[in-house]
Amino acid sequence: MIETENKEINVDEIMAKIKAEVENRKEGGLKVNSGDDPFADEMLSSFDWHHLKVNMGVAEENAVIGQKNFSMLRFNKMIRGVAKFASRIVLYITRIITFPQTNFNLAILNVLHIIRDGISNLERRLSHHENIVSQLSEQIQKQTQLLDEQTEKIDTQEKINSYLKANITMYENRFVVFMEEAQKRLPEPFSSEQLKQIIGQAEHLFDPLYLFFEDRFRGTRQEIKERLRVYLPLIEESGAGLEDYPILDIGCGRGEWLELISENQRTIIGVDLNRTLVEQCIERGMIVVEKDAVVYLQSLPENSIGAITAFHLIEHLPLNTLLNFFNETLRVLRKGGVAIFETPNPENVLVGSCNFYFDPTHRNPLPPQMMQFFLESRGFYRVSIQKLHPYPDEEKIPDDGSEIVKRFNQRFYGPQDYAVIGYKL
C-alpha cells in the first residue's frame, strides 16, 4: 500500500503502526466527533475578533489624555527642570478640556467592553444551541431510521402472518369440507360429487403463496395504486363506473384498482380466481367475485359494462383463451366503453429476457404491436399503446449525445410495461 523512495523510512514499521491504529479504531468503536470546533464557530461567525482585540488595545492605550508630561530628556538638566515645571502648569490648565474627554473615552471603552462581552456571550450561546439542534437532528434521524426499520420488519411480519393465516384458513376450510362430506357419507364411501368437491380444493392449494409472491415482487399497494392513477383520466373520459355501467377489473389481485376507483366514487367489481386474494378484498369492503374471467364475462349481458380493465392478466392466458377474452370483453362493453389491458413490455430487453419470468405463471411475453393487432382484429377501435414505467434516470447510462447510448438506454432502461387501450364503437 505504501510506496516511498526514502530509504530512511521503514515501511514495515509504518504498516505495523497502521494496523495498530485500525485495531484501536475497531475496539474503540466509531468516535466521530462532529460537535464543537472553535474554528468552525469563527468561520461561521462574521465577527473579526482578532482585529477587535487589537484595536481595543490601541484605544485603551490612548484613552487617558492630558495626564502625562512630555518627555523632557532632549533638554539638558537645567532647562529640563524649567520645562517640566512649565508643562505641569499647562497640563493643569488644559485639564479643563481633557478631563471630560478622558471621562468620555473611558465610558465609551466600557461600553465597548460590555458590547464585546455581550456578543461573545451571544455567539457562545448560539453555538451551544446550534450544537444541541445538530445533536437533536442526528438523534431524530437515527430514531426515524430505526422506526423505518421497525416498520419494515413489522410489515414483513404482517405479510408473513397474513400468508400463514390464509394458509391455515384454507387448510381449515379444506378439512371442514372433508369432514362434512365424510360425516354425510360415513359409513358409506364418498360419492363422485363429493370427491369432486374435495379434489376441487387442490386448485387453490397455492393461492396464499401467490399473495405472498405479489407482496414480494409486484411492489407495495401504495406503489401500485400510484401507478394506476395514470388510467383515471381514461375512465373519467369514458364515463364508466357511474349509474348502470360499472367498471369490471378482471384479475383484480390485491384490489388496488378497486380501491382507487372506489375512492373516486365509481362502481367497480373485481373478478379473480385466487380465493385468498378474493377473501382479502372482500374483507376490505370491495365487491369481488371468485370466478374464471371468461366464464364470468359470458354470464353478463351485452353492452352492460362501462369499462373493463385487466392489469397483468393477459400474459397468463393461453392464446385461445386470450382471444375469447377479447371477444367477450367487446361484447359486454357498452358503446364507447373502454378496455385497458396492461402487461409487461418485452421491447425492454431486461423485461423480455429476465424480469418477465419472475412470475412462473406467466406464459410468454406479448409484444405491443401484436396486442394492438389482436384488439383491432376483434373489432376494437381507436386502439392505442401507452408505454409505461421506464427506469429512473439515475439508473441509465449518462447521455453523452451519442446514438449508441440513446439506443442502449431505450432498450434496457426504457418502459417496463405497456397498456393496450381500445374502445367499443
Binding site: 505504501i2 516511498t4 509504518i14 474554528f39 468552525a40 488595545g57 492605550e61 449518462p398
Partner: protein, 775 residues
C-alpha cells in the same frame, strides 16, 4: 577589498552574552584571516548598563586587528520602554502564536523606538554603505538592528540568535527576516524556529553558519575540588549555564528530587554551575549548587561528569552541549527546544526529555547505562561537534557567504546570439495561479539574460495588470522567439502555430475528459478536442517541453520530436510577506489542520478525500479538513462534493474556502499539519512542492506525475481500496513525530530541485535550441 561590518549594540572582549561573544570571535577570527573587518557599535558598555548613557567615547579604536567604531546612543523614554517590555515579558506561552502580533502596533513601535538606538550610527549606515561589502546585524531584538538593517538591506545579513520568546513575534522583527539579503543561524533548530515564526520566505537566503566553540582539550587542568565538592570522588550529572526560571532549572531540580525519592539508594548527584539569582544547594537531596565557576573549574566539571543535562527551552544554540561533546560526554536536551533537540536528534549524541517524569527517568538511565551505549553517544556527539562547531569550519562558512555566488543562475546573452526578443504567450495571467507565476519567473530570467521579454495574454487579471500585455496581432515581430504555454488551447494557439520565428511550446497537460463526463459533458468535449489539437501542434513545434517527464512523455507519444522537461520553479522568495493574521490566530487552536490545495475538479477527487477524512476522524477527532481552491457552487462536481460532506455530517469539519489571497494561502500552509491528496491526475502538482517549503508532510495517492514530483520525499499510497488504512497512515503522519521528522528531512532536500537556480539551466538549454533555430 571592502570591509565586512558587524553591527551589534555592545562590543568587547569580556562581555558575557552569547551574541557578544559570537560577534567578538567572528570579527577577530575573520580579521586574523586577512579580511578587513569593522564593528559598528554604540558607546554603551553592556546589556546591564543604562541604554541611554554613553560609557565609551565616540570614535574608532582597534581591538585585536578589528576596527571598532562607536556611536553615541540616543536619549530614550525608559519608562515607556519598560512598560512595553513588562507587557511582553508577562505574556504567557499560549499568548504567543506564530504570525499573530502579540501586542498592538503602537506598543511595538514604542519598543523599537525607545530601545537602544543611535541616530548617528543609522546615519553612518546610510551615508557610508557603499564602502562596505556586507553587514552582519546581530542579535535581532535591539533598536540599532531593527532600525539599521532596513537601511542597508541589500547588503545586510541578519544573525538573529533567535529565541522562542515574545520579542520574536513582533512585526519589526518579522520585517528583518523579509528584508535581509541573508539570514545566518547558529543551528538547524534555530532555522526551523524562524521558519515556524516567519514562514519560508527567507529560507533560500538562510544559512546554518553554526556557532563556534573553544576547545580546551589537552590543556592540563588540576582542579580536583570546587569549594568542598570533590569532583573526582563524586558521580554526578552536570547542568551548566545561567540558572533561572527561563532556563527551566526548577524543572530539572524537581525531576532530580523525584528520581532520588524513587531510588533512595542512589548516590548520584546533580551539580549546577553558573550565575543566577536562586541557590538550589541541598546536600541532603544530593543537589550541589556551585554558582558561578571559573573556566578551569567548568572544564573539570565537564571532564568529570557522567552526562550534561540541558533543560532550557530557550536556546538558539547551546554552547555547553557542544562543549560537553568535545569532552566526550553525552547530553540530554529539552524536546521542546528546537535548537538543542534538533542537534541531539541529528547527532545521536544523547537523549531528549520534556516532562518531569521523563527527566527523572533520564537520571536513572544514565546512572545505569551500558558503557557501550554511553560511548556511542559520546562518539556521535563528538563527530557532530567537530563537523559543526569548530571555529575553523564556522569561519569557512562565513567566508563562503561572500566568495560563492548564491545568486540566481543566469546566462549572459552572447553578442553572437541572433535573438533579441523572446516573448511568452499564454491564455491568461491570473493572480495566484501557478502557471502565471512560472511565466513571470521565466520572463525575469530572460530579461536578466539580456533579452527583451514580455508576457502576452488574451485575458489579464486586474491584479496582474503590470505584469503582462493584452495580445494584439502584429504585436510580436516575425523574428522574435516565442514561448507558447499550451494546455487546452486558446485564441492564441493559431498565432503561435503561424509564427515563423523560433518557438518553444511548454505543455502543461490536459486533464483526461473521462473525469468530467459525469459532471460536465460540455467541458469534457472541450478536453477531448484539446487532446486532438495537440497532435496538430506536433508538426509545428520542433522544440517542446513538459513540466514533468510525465507531460513530456505525453508529448512524445503524440508525435513531438524529443520533448524536454522544464519543471515549474517554486521560489520561496514570494513568501517574504506576512501571512493573514486573522487566519493565523484562528487556525492555531490545537486542532490538526489537514490541507488540500487545488481547484475543485473531478480529477482531484476531493470527494474521496472527504470520505477518507471521515475515517480519519474516527481515529483522531481533533482535526479539520481545509480545501483551498477555486470552485463554482453551481458546478455539478462541487454540488456532488457538498452532498458528500453533508452525507457524512462533516459540515463543521470540512471547509471549502475557495480562492484566497496570497497572504491567506500562506496562513493555510503555515498552519497545516498534513497535505493530503487523493488526486488521480496531475501534470506536475505545485502544491506538493509548496507544502515542502512550509514543512508540511505530504501524503498522496500515487498517480500520473505525482511520484516524479515527490521524488524520495513525502509518502505515496497506491490503492484506494481501503480508505481506513489510508486514513490511519494520515493520522500517523500528523501525530507520530518520528515519521514526521523522516518525511520532513527528505522534503527539505527535495524542494531545492525546483528552485530557480536548479531549473534555469534546463531553460537555458531550450533557449539555446531556439537560438539554433534562429540561426
Amino acid at each position: 577589498m571592502k570591509a565586512i561590518a558587524i553591527v551589534i549594540p555592545w562590543f568587547g572582549k569580556d562581555l558575557k552574552g552569547g551574541a557578544e561573544q559570537e560577534a567578538f570571535q567572528v570579527a577577530t577570527r575573520l580579521a586574523a584571516r586577512g579580511r578587513k573587518v569593522e564593528v559598528l557599535t554604540t558607546c554603551c558598555r553592556s546589556f546591564a548598563d543604562d541604554w541611554g548613557k554613553n560609557y565609551y567615547k565616540q570614535g574608532e579604536e582597534q581591538i585585536n586587528g578589528v576596527c571598532v567604531r562607536r556611536f553615541p546612543v540616543d536619549k530614550r523614554d525608559q519608562d515607556s520602554f519598560d512598560r512595553v517590555n513588562r507587557i511582553l515579558l508577562d505574556l504567557k506561552k499560549s499568548d504567543l502564536i506564530p504570525g499573530v502580533y502579540p501586542i498592538a502596533k503602537p506598543l511595538s513601535d514604542t519598543f523599537a523606538h525607545e530601545n537602544i538606538n543611535s541616530a548617528s550610527l543609522l546615519k553612518y549606515l546610510e551615508m557610508k554603505q557603499e564602502q562596505y561589502e556586507a553587514f552582519i546585524f546581530m542579535p535581532y531584538l535591539y533598536g540599532i538592528i531593527l532600525n539599521g538593517l532596513p537601511i542597508v538591506s541589500e547588503k545586510a545579513y541578519l544573525q538573529p540568535c533567535l529565541h522562542d520568546e515574545a520579542y520574536a513575534y513582533l512585526p519589526e522583527v518579522e520585517r528583518l527576516f523579509f528584508l535581509a539579503k541573508g539570514v545566518l543561524f547558529l543551528s538547524v533548530g534555530e532555522m526551523i524556529l524562524a521558519q515556524k515564526l516567519y514562514g519560508p520566505g527567507f529560507c533560500r537566503m538562510g544559512t546554518v553558519i553554526g556557532g563556534g566553540v573553544e576547545v580546551n582539550s589537552g590543556k592540563q587542568n588540576s582542579v580536583a575540588k570546587i569549594g568542598s565538592f570533590n569532583l573526582e570522588q563524586s558521580k554526578f550529572i552536570l547542568c551548566l549555564g545561567r540558572r533561572d526560571q527561563t532556563k527551566n532549572t526548577d524543572l530539572l531540580v524537581s525531576a532530580f528530587e523525584e528520581f532520588r525519592t524513587n531510588h533512595v539508594d542512589s548516590d548520584l548527584l546533580l551539580v549546577l554551575a553558573g550565575p543566577g539569582p536562586n541557590n538550589y544547594h541541598d546536600e541532603s537531596k544530593g543537589i550541589i549548587d556551585l554558582q558561578l565557576v571559573s573556566d578551569d573549574e567548568k572544564e573539570m566539571l565537564l571532564s568529570s561528569c557522567i552526562a550534561l543535562f540541558q533543560p532550557s527551552k530557550n536556546e538558539s544554540f547551546s554552547r555547553v552541549i557542544m562543549e560537553a561533546w568535545f569532552h566526550l560526554k553525552p547530553v540530554v536536551a529539552n524536546r521542546e527546544c528546537l535548537a538543542t533537540a534538533t542537534a541531539v536528534r541529528q547527532s545521536g549524541g544523547g537523549l531528549l526529555a520534556d516532562s518531569k517524569t521523563e527527566w527523572a527517568d533520564r537520571f536513572s538511565e544514565f546512572e545505569n547505562m551500558d558503557i557501550m551505549k554511553m560511548e556511542e553517544f559520546c562518539r556521535k556527539g563528538l563527530h557532530y561537534a567537530k563537523e559543526n562547531v569548530s571555529w575553523e569550519k564556522v569561519i569557512d562558512r562565513y567566508e563562503m557567504l561572500w566568495n560563492t555566488e548564491k545568486l540566481i543562475f543566469f546566462t549572459t546573452r552572447k553578442s553572437s546570439c541572433k535573438l533579441k526578443e523572446i516573448h511568452q504567450l499564454l491564455p491568461n495571467l491570473t493572480y495566484g495561479d501557478a502557471i502565471s507565476n512560472h511565466a513571470i519567473e521565466i520572463r525575469n530570467f530572460l530579461r536578466d539574460s539580456g533579452y527583451q521579454s514580455n508576457i502576452y495574454v488574451r485575458y489579464l487579471d486586474d491584479k496582474m495588470a503590470t505584469e503582462a500585455v493584452v495580445f494584439q496581432s502584429k504585436i510580436i515581430g516575425k523574428r522574435a522567439g516565442i514561448i507558447y504555454h499550451h494546455s487546452i488551447g486558446s485564441e492564441l494557439t493559431s498565432f503561435a502555430v503561424k509564427h515563423s520565428g523560433p518557438k518553444l511550446m511548454i505543455y502543461h497537460n490536459i486533464t483526461p475528459a473521462h473525469f468530467f463526463e459525469p459532471y460536465d459533458p460540455e467541458y469534457a468535449r472541450i478536453l477531448t478536442k484539446g487532446r486532438l489539437d495537440l497532435q496538430l501542434l506536433s508538426d509545428v513545434f520542433h522544440i517542446s517541453a513538459g513540466d514533468s517527464k510525465f507531460n513530456s512523455d505525453e508529448l512524445r507519444q503524440t508525435g513531438f520530436p524529443n520533448p524536454s522537461v522544464l519543471p515549474i520553479c517554486v521560489n520561496p522568495d514570494k513568501w517574504k510577506t506576512p501571512a493573514d493574521s486573522k487566519l493565523m490566530a484562528r487556525l492555531q487552536d490545537g486542532i490538526a489542520n489537514i490541507l488540500f490545495v487545488g481547484r475543485i475538479a473531478p480529477n482531484k477527487c476531493q470527494d474521496h478525500l472527504v470520505e477518507s477524512f471521515h475515517h480519519y476522524l474516527t481515529m483522531d477527532p481533533d482535526a479539520r479538513l481545509i480545501m483551498v481552491g477555486f470552485g463554482q457552487p453551481a458546478d455539478p462536481y462541487y454540488q456532488h462534493l457538498k452532498k458528500i460532506i453533508s452525507k457524512f455530517g462533516l459540515m463543521r469539519k470540512v471547509f471549502l474556502v475557495g480562492q484566497v489571497t496570497e497572504s491567506e494561502l500562506q496562513a493555510y500552509y503555515r498552519t497545516a499539519h498534513l497535505f493530503w491528496s487523493m488526486s488521480e491526475h496531475e501534470g506536475f502538482c505545485i502544491p506538493l512542492i509548496e507544502s515542502m517549503w512550509f514543512d508540511i508532510p505530504v501524503l498522496s495517492f500515487k498517480s500520473t506525475a505525482v511520484p516524479e514530483t515527490l521524488g524520495d520525499a513525502g509518502i505515496l499510497f497506491n490503492s484506494k481500496d481501503d480508505l481506513i488504512h489510508v486514513a490511519a497512515l494520515a493520522k500517523l503522519m500528523v501525530r507520530d513525530d518520528k515519521i514526521r521528522d523522516l518525511v520532513l528531512n527528505a522534503q527539505r532536500q527535495r524542494r531545492n530541485a525546483f528552485l530557480p537556480e536548479a531549473v534555469w539551466p534546463q531553460l537555458d538549454r531550450l533557449i539555446q535550441k531556439m537560438e539554433e533555430q534562429a540561426a
